[in-house]
């Protein structure tokens, strides 16, 4: 009797858990059977903050010379946000470049700012930079020296 009950409990749990998992998967947005463009396409009910960043970094990677110094941040009202996640994502997505934190684009002198800026979302308003490429996800800037 005890064994039968235990078996019934295990079977029930083993049926409920995958159903609960499928429900979680379903909540994480359609499409359900299309190849995703990034590794974070469906991790939440809303778009992951790094999806746009990964797509933009894919676009700008061939435009930045290997070994160049670069930073990456989201732009709000023309100014950079102090976010760590975009910058850390850029370290992984630009393995052949030297990725520096966002404040490296802040220096008062044009000669001291980081050479390339990957600006996510809006244009980056800075006299130290000129835009060299634009994409739906953001812009690539180079120091205007």
């Amino acid at each position: 009797m005890r064994e039968r009950l235990q078996k019934a409990v295990i079977v029930t749990a083993s049926l409920l858990l995958p159903l609960a998992l499928i429900q979680r998967f379903y909540e994480r947005r359609p499409p359900y059977f299309a190849a995703p463009r990034t590794i974070v396409d469906h991790v939440d009910r809303i778009e992951h903050s790094q999806r746009q960043t990964i797509l933009l970094l894919d676009e700008v990677r061939p435009l930045i010379p290997r070994g160049a110094q670069v930073t990456c941040f989201r732009v709000i009202n023309g100014k950079r946000e102090s976010d760590n996640s975009n910058y850390l994502t850029a370290v992984g997505q630009l393995p052949h470049h030297v990725v520096l934190p966002p404040f490296a684009a802040d220096s008062l002198s044009k000669s001291e700012v980081v050479e390339y800026v990957v600006a996510i979302g809006e244009p980056f308003n800075s006299p130290a930079y000129k835009v060299i490429a634009g994409f739906p996800e953001g812009f690539l800037y180079r120091a205007d020296r």
Binding site: R2, S14, Y32, V91
Partner: protein, 393 residues
Amino acid sequence: MFVAGVLLMTLFGAFTWRMESVRRMDLAARVAIAFACGVVVGGVVMFAYSVIGIPWQRWTLAIPLVLAAALWRRDAARPAGGTPALLIFVLLTIYGVATARETTGDLLYFWGPKAQRFFLESRIDVGFLQFPHYYLMHPDYPPLQTLIYSWGAIAAHRFSWWGALYLTPVFLLASVLVFRGYSRNKGFAILLAAVLAYGIGSARSAGGADPLLYLFEVIALCALTFDDDSAIASIALTGAVLTKVEGAAFAIVVLVALVITRRIRALKVFAAPALALGAWILFAKHHGLLDAYARGKSTLHFEQLGMVVKRTLGAFILPWIAAIAPLTLGRNWKRAALPLLVAAGTLAYTIFFYLHEADPAFWIKTSAERVLLTTVIALIVAGAAASSDENVC
């Protein structure tokens, strides 16, 4: 190619096929054990190469791999019989990673960047870890996960983000096959597969170190609970302490449980993990990387105890029920004593960790499902042990 390269590390674990406890298992469990032990041995080799200055190249790593493979011994394996239900959970996990539904952010923020850099530099890149602006990548975090990813990248000649994700169903399948091999209980093996697939998917931990940690935890617990197999347990605990900081806490809890239950001489099990962790901490200290292992003096916030306990226990309702309900119907409690003590200990240290934060609500929300899966695994091992008439004590 990335995943195939990592699977090749199984050859490092060929020596396990000569061990009596492993030879008693079915073929699938033997391969899974060899794979798990292989990634530990391979990781230790890569770490040793970094310490003594040998660059990671295909040929430099192939030499110890071939030597290790020579220890393989062929003999007839016990048939396991099929457990096709396991495939459902593996396929669900494959679907989850293939559609990017269970990716951990940590893969993006530090596991991937570190592994990629180590691969490009052909060693553990100390300069990268020392760079102050990469501090958020946890410079002293145990290296095994990044070493495995670097190994895969060396095999494939490039790092693969998707390859890292696809290792998750591999770790899940290996965990369940080892469990089935030791416990010989197909019902609980299916339950473990269901809980792991749900837990990893729900917590979005694919691509992180947790699925690898679960594999080592399952092996260590099963080896000590079902077979008094100190050698395999020792290798698995070495893997655990080299995979995550929580792995060291898990190993200490297993040590305490072993001492209480007086099952086998604890020194036999803990010499290798202590040596491996000590070597990593010394390496980190020597290069000025110590961070997580040097936080012993942080303040405890006991005023948060009620909230922490409530939120921690409430974070994972369905797996708790799935693990505890069949356990209550067991009867061989003496056999289940060790995993039950480990379950209690892992729950205690999880709460203890959370008490170090003044306001841990967000931390609990984002990590409890992932961390508590260790406790749930221990409860399932206890359930299988308690439901068996066999007495190995």
